[in-house]
C-alpha cells in the first residue's frame, strides 16, 4: 500500500461523486423546474472537476480534452433551457 498524489486525487474524485449524488436529490425534490436546472448546472460543474481529477489520475492527456469540450457543451444546454423558460412565461409546475 502506498499513499501518494494519485491516491489523494482519487479521494477528491470520491468526494465530487458524493456531491453529484446529493445534487441528484434536488432534481428529484425541486418544486419548480428552475430548481432542477440549478441542480443540473451544479452537476455539470462537478462532472468537469471529476474529469480533470480522473484525467490526472490516469496520466493521459486525452481525458482532460474531454473536460474542455464538456465545459463548453454543457453551457450550451443550460443557456438553451434558460431561453425556453424565459419565453414560456408560465409558472414552473410542481410534480
Amino acid at each position: 500500500m502506498t499513499f501518494g498524489p494519485s491516491e489523494v486525487l482519487l479521494i477528491g474524485a470520491g468526494v465530487l461523486s458524493l456531491g453529484i449524488l446529493i445534487s441528484l436529490f434536488r432534481i428529484l425534490l425541486g418544486p419548480t423546474s428552475a430548481d432542477r436546472v440549478v441542480a443540473m448546472d451544479t452537476i455539470n460543474t462537478l462532472v468537469v472537476g471529476l474529469m480533470i481529477a480522473l484525467g490526472a489520475f490516469y496520466r493521459q492527456v486525452v481525458f482532460i480534452d474531454i473536460a474542455i469540450v464538456y465545459a463548453i457543451l454543457s453551457f450550451v444546454t443550460t443557456i438553451f433551457i434558460a431561453r425556453y423558460m424565459e419565453q414560456s412565461r408560465e409558472k414552473g409546475g410542481s410534480d
Partner: protein, 86 residues
C-alpha cells in the same frame, strides 16, 4: 486499505445516479423537468464512458447527449402543452 475499492465505489455511485435519473425521466409530469433529468442522465452516462476509459465515445456522448438531444427535446416541447395529463 485497498485503494481500488474507492475506485469501484465511484463507479457504483455514477451507475446508481444513471439509474435514478432515468427513473425520474419516466416519472416526471412536467416536460421541461423531464428534459432536465434526461440531460443529467446523459451527462452521467458520458462520465461512465470516461471511467471505462473510452475517450472517443465519451466525447461523442457529451456532444450528442448533453448538447444536441436536449435542444431537440426543448424544440419539441415548444410545440406541445407543457404539462402531461393522464
Amino acid at each position: 486499505m485497498d485503494w481500488s475499492l474507492l475506485y469501484d465505489a465511484i463507479h457504483v455511485v455514477i451507475l446508481l445516479g444513471i439509474v435514478a435519473a432515468s427513473v425520474l425521466v419516466v416519472r416526471m409530469k412536467d416536460l421541461v423537468s423531464a428534459a432536465v433529468a434526461l440531460a443529467a442522465a446523459s451527462l452521467l452516462l458520458s462520465l461512465e464512458f470516461f471511467i471505462l476509459q473510452a475517450p472517443d465515445v465519451a466525447i461523442a456522448e457529451a456532444a450528442v447527449g448533453a448538447g444536441l438531444t436536449t435542444a431537440i427535446y426543448i424544440f419539441a416541447i415548444k410545440g406541445t402543452r407543457r404539462r402531461e395529463e393522464y
